[in-house]
Symmetry: C2
Subunit: 206 residues, 2 copies
């Protein structure tokens, strides 16, 4: 156990956990303070306000989430391999942080709460060259000519939703946490097959 965290870092870490678990509206400054072992005044001493602390946490979480998965497209591999590895990474990440997609989409959908800087995230995606690679593959007839928004939606739907719907699915199907984890591992394999099978145009043998 590394106890060598500064007060500021302790608060930031606690805030991240609490915000992701309960949302901005679902928690209090005092709750964050208590979770970090500090008191309320220190939260505002280091971060000025609950809102600003949230903004910091949200943007960092969003960047982490994107970064950890999208960077596979920088590698020198076939598009299909990259796609497979991307899905693999996405599931790996989400098994460790299953609440992040719901957190991001929930907070983002009530966007009046703060204006977040999406330029940084757009840049990280653009930097990987994934968009050009996909367009190029469409020109070459490797993958279907589908608007990239739809391609992204397909992949993200099949990666993120299974984690967002965990509570509901466990309810509906009467599964334990372990049983649901098993379904998730299977789901990863199924959606990989399904997505690759649908998006990639089979090579004709002649």
């Amino acid at each position: 156990m590394s106890k060598e965290l500064s007060t500021e870092e302790k608060i930031r870490e606690a805030a991240k956990n609490v915000f992701i678990a309960k949302g901005f509206d679902g928690c209090t400054s005092r709750e964050i303070a208590k979770a970090s072992g500090m008191n309320v005044a220190l939260v505002n001493y280091y971060f000025c306000s609950k809102k600003q602390l949230f903004k910091l946490v949200f943007e960092a979480t969003m960047e982490d989430f994107m970064q950890s998965t999208v960077e596979v497209f920088k590698k020198d591999l076939s598009l299909e391999s990259k796609m497979r590895i991307f899905i693999e990474r996405e599931y790996e990440f989400l098994i460790l942080h299953p609440d992040i997609p719901r957190f991001i989409l929930s907070e983002l959908s009530r966007g009046d709460k703060f204006e977040f800087d999406h330029a940084a995230i757009l840049e990280k995606i653009a930097d990987t060259g994934v968009l050009e690679e996909l367009l190029d593959a469409q020109e070459k007839g490797i993958i279907r000519k589908i608007d990239l928004t739809n391609v992204m939606l397909m992949i993200m739907s099949n990666c993120q939703y299974p984690f967002m719907a965990k509570s509901l699915m466990k309810y509906l199907n009467g599964l334990t946490e372990e049983e649901y984890q098993e379904r998730l591992t299977l789901q990863k394999q199924y959606v990989t097959e399904m997505l690759i099978g649908y998006l990639f145009i089979p090579k004709t043998n002649n």
Copy 2:
């Protein structure tokens, strides 16, 4: 315009809109009262507490959502037709009520807020006989032998996520509401093809 709503109904309707838009934690009793044209005391006069009003709204919303789509499986059609119509209905419903999946999954994920009665929903699904039909189709080699939890996940992922991620996708791709609606219509067609193509085993010609 039908103005002939009772006070109780006005509050219930307003509460539904406000809860779905902002979540339980994201709104106040006074906000709901104002949205219904009434005052705070009336909310508790008819519904005892914010929590109980929420419980009512949540369970009704959940039942509506399930009911409107799953009942297609009662019809006398081929499984493939039912699946196609199911997806069609789901998208139709979600175009009208795009915030409901996020609402349900968000509120459900912090389940300590109240215990909801999922038996009624389970029963509605069971009543359609969809589960038996799917298992039967698996036995007959019509669709892949995949755990039904995973089948449900696949379908729900591709129907609900595109609506849950609207804010994010509009951001990332710089789309207007109209442009995103167009993508959603295309998405419906793509995911129908993809899901049917993956889940159903092609008939061999011999």
